[in-house]
Subunit: 405 residues, 2 copies
C-alpha cells in the first residue's frame, strides 16, 4: 500500500494561533484513492526543523505533502529548504504562475508587487502545478529510490486552506498518474433522525452480510446526521458501482425516508432542492434556535428562490410547549404567505419543533445534552429534517389515496 | 526554555474524519506560560507507532502531552503503551476516578458499564489527574534524566476536546509546579472596524516605542475583529501588570471606541453587557445575513434579558440600499418595541447596515471579498459593532451637551 505523510509548516500553528484544517482535508482525499496516511506533523518555520522533518517523512512514507511556509515575506523559507533538499542548482521562472500572479496583483492593487511576482520562481528540479487562486505555485519533486530508499513524491502546497483545497484535485491527479493504485470506490449515504447506536442495530444484519471487500464507516455530526460511508476495494469501476448500487437499494428498504441524500450534501440543501423542484416556498419562526434555522437555510446561494423569511422571537413570553410551537408555525405560514413553515421552540435541552403544510401541522419533541452550540445545530437540523420527512410522507399518503380511489 | 511536543493519537485523525483541534488548544495554554511547542504530531492507534512517536517526542522536548486513544474499547491502546513505556509493573485503581465514573455512568445509563469502570485503573508508575467530565483519567508520568537525557514530564489526556479543555488547567498547574518557568503576562486588547494594515499604521509609533520585553501580536478574525496581544516577559506580576496597564492607556488614546474589550470577549458579548447594564432592549431585521446576527446575539445565554427578537426577510423585493436598510431598522424598533434595533441588507460583497436608536438612525456601507460564510460573519459582527459604537457616541455627545449648558 502506498503511504503518505502530511507536513504542515508554520509557527502560527505551533503557537496555537491557527488550527490546522489542511491535514484533515488532504488526508480525506488521499484516503479516497487508497493511500494510507501514516503520520501528520507540524514543524516550525526554521530551516533545520523543516529539513529534518521532511527527510524523516520521506524515509517513512512514499508521498509527502507539505503545506505552508510559501508566503512572499522573509520568514517563509520552505522554498529555500526545498531547493537544498532537491539539490537544485538555480531558480527558474514559471510563466503560467507569473501570468496568474500579475492578474491577481492587478486585481488586488500593487502592494508587495515585487515580492509576489518573485513567487513564480521555483527550484529548477521541481515540476510546477499552477496555483490559480494565489501567488505561490504548487511544487512537485521526485526522488529516486537511491535517495530515501523509496520512489518518493514530494508536494509543497500553499498554507491558505482555500488555495490548498482548490489545488488538491491537481495534486491527486498527479499522484494517480505516478503510482499504480488499487481501485477504491466510495459512496456516502446520508441519514438523519436515527441515533448512531439505533442505526447500527437497525442495519446490523445488512452490515454483517456485506461482501468482504466492502468497508462501512459511521460518520456522526449534529447538522449532517449519521452518514454511512461504503468503500469498496479492488474492483473495476463499473462492477464496483453496480455492487454499491445494489447495497444501497437494500439500505433504502431498511431506512426509508431517514435517508436524505447521497454524497456530499446537507439536510438544508436537500430540503432547498425539494422546495425549488415543487415551486414551493418556506418561512420560519424560531425562538431557542435564535436564527440558526434561517442561517442554515440561507447558506444555500439560491435560497431566495424558496425561502421568504422568518421571525426570531426571543421574548421570555414565548410558549415553549407543543401548542405554542404549532401556533408559531401556523402564524409564520400565514404571515409570509408560504407553502410551508418551520417553527422551533424549547428551553435548555428539551426542544419542540413543528412544521405547517397545506394539509395541517406536524410536531415533534427531542432532547439533547450537549453544549449550547451543538444543541442549537442538532435542533435546527432536526426541524429542517422534520419538514423534509413530512413533505415526503404527505406525498406518499396522497399517492396511496389516489390508488385507493 | 522549556520545550513541549503535542502528540495526538488516533486513526480517525489520520484518515481525516476528524480535524484535530486539541493541539491548538493545548499549545495556546503552554505558550501562555512560556513553554515553546516545538512539534505537533499525529500517529495511528498502533502499538509500535505510538511508542516510537512518544519516545521521539521525549527525546526532543521536555514535556510531552498526548491526547486520545484512551477509550474503553479494545482499539484504544494508549494506556497499554504507557504501561510499557513507564516500565510499570501493575495496574492500580484510582478511587477518585472510580467514583466519578460510577456517577457518570449512572447518569448515562448502564451501557458499557464494566469497560468504563475499568478506565479508572492506571499503570502504577503514573500520577492521576482526575477527569471530571469523562471516564478516562489524565495520566502523568515523570522520567529521570537518565532515560531520555531530559527530566521529562508526559501527560496522557483524553481525546474528546471538551474533556481535554476542562482538564487542561490542572495539567498546566502541574507543569508550573514542576519547572521553574519565566514569568510571562499576556493581555489582549480587542478592536473592531479597522483593517489590520490600517491598524498597524495607526499604532506604528506606539509599537516602535514598546519596551524590548514586550511582544505584540496581531490576531485578525472576521467576527472578533483584530485583537492585539501584548506579552511581557521576565518581570514580576505586579510590575508587569502595571507596565501593561500603562501601554493599554496609550493604546486607548490612539484607538478610542474601536477598542471593544479586553481579554476573551466578543463584540456580541460586549454589546449584550452594555444593553443589560442600561436596561435597554434590542431587535433585528436581517436580509442578506439570513439570521446570523440573531444567532450571534443569542449565543449569549442571557440574551433573553435584552434581545426581544427579529425578522429575516429573504424576499427578492427587499431593498438593498441605504433608505431600505434604514427603514428596516426603524420598523424593527417599532414592531418589537425595543430601545435599539440593528438592520442588515446587501447583495454579494456590498453590505448595508443601519441601527435605530431613540435619537435617530445611523448607517454604514462596507464590502468584503471572501467566501459566503466569512462575508456573513464579518457583516454580522460589523452591524453589531455599529450599534456598540453608536451607543457610545450618543452618550459622549450627550455628556458634551450637558457640559455646554
Amino acid at each position: 500500500m502506498i503511504t503518505a505523510s502530511i507536513c504542515t509548516i508554520g509557527d502560527e500553528i505551533l503557537i496555537g494561533q491557527i488550527t490546522d484544517t489542511n491535514s484533515a482535508m488532504i488526508s480525506k482525499q488521499l484516503n479516497k484513492i487508497g493511500i494510507k496516511v501514516v503520520s501528520m506533523v507540524t514543524c516550525s518555520d526554521e530551516n533545520n526543523d523543516i529539513l529534518t522533518t521532511l527527510e524523516r517523512c520521506l524515509k517513512t512514507s512514499d508521498i509527502v505533502i507539505s503545506t505552508g511556509g510559501l508566503g512572499p515575506t522573509k520568514d517563509d523559507i520552505t522554498k529555500k529548504v526545498l531547493y537544498t533538499l532537491s539539490k537544485s542548482s538555480r531558480y527558474t521562472c514559471n510563466k503560467t504562475q507569473m501570468e496568474i500572479n500579475r492578474r491577481i496583483l492587478s486585481a488586488r492593487g500593487i502592494e508587495m508587487m515585487d515580492l509576489n511576482l518573485q513567487q513564480a520562481y521555483v527550484p529548477n528540479r521541481c515540476t510546477v502545478i499552477p496555483n490559480r487562486c494565489g501567488t505561490a505555485p504548487i511544487m512537485q519533486f521526485s526522488f529516486a529510490k537511491s535517495r530515501f530508499n523509496r520512489k518518493n513524491l514530494l508536494f509543497s502546497m500553499p498554507g491558505v486552506p482555500f488555495e490548498t483545497e482548490q489545488a488538491l484535485p491537481d495534486v491527486i491527479s498527479s499522484i494517480k498518474a505516478h503510482y499504480k493504485l488499487d481501485n477504491i470506490l466510495h459512496h456516502t449515504v446520508c441519514t438523519f433522525g436515527i441515533p448512531e447506536s439505533q442505526l447500527a442495530k437497525r442495519i446490523e444484519k445488512w452490515e454483517d452480510s456485506l461482501p468482504e471487500n466492502i468497508h462501512l464507516a459511521y460518520l456522526p455530526n449534529p447538522i449532517l446526521g449519521v452518514r454511512l460511508r461504503l468503500s469498496i476495494y479492488g474492483v473495476d469501476e463499473k462492477e464496483g458501482k453496480k455492487e454499491i448500487a445494489k447495497q444501497i437499494r437494500s439500505l433504502k428498504k431498511l431506512l426509508g425516508n431517514a435517508i436524505y441524500g447521497e454524497g456530499e450534501t446537507t439536510p438544508q440543501k436537500v430540503l432547498g432542492e425539494m422546495l425549488e423542484k415543487r415551486g414551493a416556498t418556506l418561512s420560519t419562526a424560531e425562538s431557542c434556535t435564535g436564527g440558526y434555522i434561517a442561517h442554515l437555510l440561507t447558506q444555500n446561494p439560491s435560497a431566495s428562490k424558496f425561502y421568504k423569511g422568518g421571525t426570531v422571537c426571543y421574548d421570555n413570553k414565548v410558549k415553549t410547549d407543543l401548542p405554542g410551537v404549532k401556533q408559531m408555525a401556523l402564524e409564520a405560514r400565514k404571515k409570509f404567505k408560504t407553502t410551508y413553515s418551520i417553527a422551533a421552540s424549547g428551553i435548555a435541552e428539551s426542544f419542540w419543533m413543528a412544521v405547517a403544510t397545506p394539509f395541517g401541522t406536524v410536531s415533534k419533541n427531542i432532547s439533547s445534552k450537549s453544549t449550547r452550540q451543538i444543541n442549537r445545530e442538532r435542533f435546527s437540523a432536526s426541524a429542517i429534517n422534520l419538514l423534509r420527512e413530512t413533505i415526503l410522507e404527505e406525498e406518499e399518503n396522497k399517492k396511496k389515496q389516489n390508488k385507493n380511489k
